[in-house]
Symmetry: C2
Subunit: 301 residues, 2 copies
């Protein structure tokens, strides 16, 4: 691809910063501007070498071929409108976790078709420029939302960029996106937050947590470090879908509670066997276990 | 340590099989017997080289220095009594996830002091002999429960074995063990099972799950593959503690639901910030991020 490009990243946190790294170091894109309303974030992004230069929003939009909006979803609609107001033929993308509110906001903008709504399904439980990392997107899925509402050249360009950083593209409409994001991704975060809160409520002595915290607990509670500044706006913007999936979650939790309270072994087995089926769908297969043949070598060394 | 020993593993699944691997291949223990009421499991364990020989329970107990009981917790009390009946000066340990019922069952046995109740805080979401792996216990915690009720030589021997396979030992009484196991480990499993059930309920089309299932979902739902044969007995044996922690979990989930339903940004932020505190306790620090200095080299190659 043509790498003689300038890209502006608005919001140099985990996702914006990681994209900047990919653009500069994997794709060799000529110039990556950083824009952030938090001067500390911006300074850190420069210091870490995530971006080449800190610029104003005006200059970033005017001088770039691609503008990436990677800010919390409550700030996105207003920012998207502001950026589209300044856009001529550039391409603008967002990387937010909810789409309905954003797309409704820009619906009637004369430059709507320069905007491509995208959701890279990649992240970690850390946030800010320090959390940026290369390779975050490799082999992951990116959802392109309401693709029919964008100019063909803009769409092609964005697809080329995402493919170049190793992502697989799927297409979805904004209503379905927000629904399924709630049902799979957003509820996982709530489940992890609630686990953390519960353990913190019940355990006054940290040592008891440390004694009992095996790999299973750590894995399940991993997302509980996720940032409120990112997730509170997601939950609120996706309110109706969240309530829907929360009620289903609570019903299933009550089914477990009821089976345990009544000592119903059969019901518990059924619930667990049904839960096990998620592994078939995710196509997770048991990792190859080292056999003693390979082991004897290893341990003899 | 003296490796001229014979060990019998009763139940050659994930934990029993992994201990067998450590004993044979890391510690160089002379002979490891496998015992399992499921002939398929036993055949598999032999085939994988987890154990040297399949024997009857009688012979295993009679001819071994150490007998490891690694069976589901509902089978443990009866098995422990049966084994203690045959024991002379051997040492018997269990590796179960609940202790109160077991320890109550063997309390008045004349050979009680040859029994050391232990709980290695290690496992994976897989089960059976195929899931056995070396290194499972390295650097992990093992809890020794009601240590005061065992003979000193038996305790020393068991501590030596666990240290030799790289585990760190903590001590706890059986009531506290079951309470804190429920509060941290067992609730994590329920939380993961319920997440899986909820996603399966809401998503009829697997593709929607696959599109939205990022690393976060996979991590949170990981334990949902855990085996009903192991976990149903744990939940039922630890019933009162489970109900206690389940109610706390449901209360916290309802707090999230209420904050989202009423659009209460402040409450949501408070809940998430409180949940974030689990990371300080677990002392999880952000991994070192590759900076562009190291990256430029990497990507130039």
């Amino acid at each position: 691809m043509n790498t003689n490009l300038t890209v502006a990243i608005v919001g140099v946190g985990l996702i914006g910063g990681s994209l900047a790294l990919e653009f500069k170091h994997r794709l060799g894109i000529k110039k990556v501007y950083g824009i952030d309303k938090d001067p500390q974030n911006l300074r850190k992004a420069l210091e870490l070498g995530l971006v080449d230069e800190a610029v104003s929003l005006d200059r970033g939009v005017r001088d770039s071929d691609l503008i990436v909006l990677s800010v919390p979803v409550d700030a996105l609609p207003q920012l998207a409108l502001e950026v589209l107001d300044m856009v001529d033929n550039q391409v603008v993308i967002d990387v937010g976790s909810t789409k309905v509110t954003l797309i409704k906001a820009i619906k009637n903008h004369p430059r709507r078709k320069r905007f491509v709504a995208t959701h890279p399904m990649a992240g970690t439980e850390y946030s800010g420029p320090k959390a940026a990392m290369i390779g975050l997107f490799t082999g992951k899925k990116v959802l392109v939302v309401d693709a029919q509402d964008t100019d063909r050249d803009a769409l092609s360009f964005v697809k080329e960029i995402y493919r170049a950083i190793g992502m697989n593209i799927s297409y979805i409409d904004s209503d379905s996106h927000d629904l399924h994001a709630a049902y799979v991704s957003h509820i996982s975060h709530i489940s992890s937050f609630v686990l953390a809160l519960t353990v913190l409520d019940k355990e006054q002595d940290e040592n008891n947590i440390l004694d009992m915290a095996g790999g299973g607990f750590r894995s399940t509670v991993r997302l509980a470090n996720s940032a409120a500044s990112m997730w509170t706006p997601i939950f609120l913007q996706n309110r109706d879908n969240m309530l829907d999936v929360l009620d289903a979650y609570i019903d299933n939790m009550l089914a477990f509670r009821q089976a345990i309270a009544s000592g119903n072994k059969k019901d518990l087995n059924i619930l667990i066997h049904r839960a096990n089926m998620i592994y078939e769908i995710l196509n997770i297969t048991q990792p190859n276990i080292l056999t003693t043949k390979t082991l004897s070598h290893e341990w003899k060394e």
